[in-house]
Symmetry: C2
Subunit: 195 residues, 2 copies
Amino acid sequence: MGSEDRLQRITMTPAARRVLEAAARLFYERGIHAVGVDLIAAEAGVTKKTLYDRFGCKEQIVVEYLADRDERWRAFLAGHLDAAPAAPAARVLAVFDASREWAAQHSHKGCSMVNAHAEISDPAHPAYPIITGQKQWMLTLFTDLARDIIPERAGHLGRTLMLLHEGALVAQGLNIYADPIGHAREQAHALLAAT
Amino acid sequence: MGSEDRLQRITMTPAARRVLEAAARLFYERGIHAVGVDLIAAEAGVTKKTLYDRFGCKEQIVVEYLADRDERWRAFLAGHLDAAPAAPAARVLAVFDASREWAAQHSHKGCSMVNAHAEISDPAHPAYPIITGQKQWMLTLFTDLARDIIPERAGHLGRTLMLLHEGALVAQGLNIYADPIGHAREQAHALLAAT
DNA sequence: GGGTAGGTATACAGATCGGTATAGTTAAGG
DNA sequence: CCTTAACTATACCGATCTGTATACCTACCC
C-alpha cells in the first residue's frame, strides 16, 4: 500500500480523470508503446497542455494506469471475499469468481499487468514494481487462503492455485477455449476436495 | 504447417539470417514496438537497404520472427517427445520438461507469443494467426495426449494441462517464484496419477 | 564478360513521437 | 476585485520512426 502512495500521487482533476480513463482503455486495447499522447488527449477531449500539466510525462500516465488498475482489482476482489462464505475452500473459489466477473467486464485481452510486462523490460521503470507487486500479492493471497486448508502445505497449494489462475487469464486473453476461468475454478475445487 | 508456408517465404540470405537473429533477440527482450528497424540493422551489422530488400517492411520481420520461433519450438518439442517413453503419462511430462529446458535457454521473459499478443491487437495483422495457431496447436497436443490416458475426458484433461502449462510460462516470465514449470510438471504428474 | 544477386554507404523524405511555449478563457475563493 | 487553478487553442521543437533513392562494390554464373 505504501508503495502505491509514493508512486501514484497526482491531482485528480476532472480532466486528469478523463485522460486516465482514455489512456487505460487505449493502453490495454492497443499496447502502451503503440499509443501516443496526442491520441490520448484527443480521446479524452483534453488539450495536450492539460495532459502534461497533470501528469508531467507519458511514463507517469503509464504508472497511474497500472497503479489504478491494481487498486481497483484489489478492491473488487476484497468485495467478493467479504461476500463469500467463511469456509476456506469457498474463499478460494471466490477469487476465481471475482476474476471471471472482472474479465467479463474489463479485460477481454488477458491480464493488463502481464501485457504491460511484455512492453516494459527495464526493472528500473517506475511501473515495474506495480506489476511484480500485484503478482506477489496474489501469490501471498493464495498462500494465505491455502494455509486455512492445509497449513503444512500452504506454500505448495498456493503456488498451484496461482498457476491455475494465471493460466486461466492467459487462456482467456488469447481465446484458446471458452470460459477458462470457470474451468480453472472447477479444477481448484477438485484440488481442494481431494485434500 | 500450410499456413506458415504461405506467410513465411523470404530468401534467407546470410544477411537476412543475421537480421532475423537480431530482431528476434531485440523484439523478445524489449518488445516489438520499442525496437526500430535502424537498431535491428545496426545490431545485425547490415545496411537498412539490405534489410528492406530482404523483408520489405518491418511487419514482415515480425511475422518471420514469430513464425520462426514457433517452428523452432515445435521441432524442439518433437525431439523431446520422440525421446520420451511410450507411456502416455510420460509423454505429457516430456512436454513440461521441454518447456523448462526451452525457457532456461531462450525465454526468461515468458512466452513470446503471449508477449507479442499484448502488442498486436488487430486480428487482421499477418502475425495474428501464428500466435493463436500455436496456442491452438498446444491445446490439441495436450488433448491428444490426454486421449491416450482417459479418452472419455480427453478434452477436459487437455484443457487443465493447458492451464497449468500457460500459467507456468507466465509465472516464469514474471519471476513470481522459482521453477514454476517444474512445479507445473509435478502438478500434472499428480493429476495423471489420480486418474 | 556482361548480367544479376547480394551486398555497403549515405542521404533523405514524410510522418509521428514526446514535450514545450504563448496566449487567452472561465470559475471559484478570500 | 483580484488572484489563482484548471482549463482551451494553436503553434512549434528536436528526435525518432518507417521507408526510399542514389551510387558503388563484388562475386558468381551463363
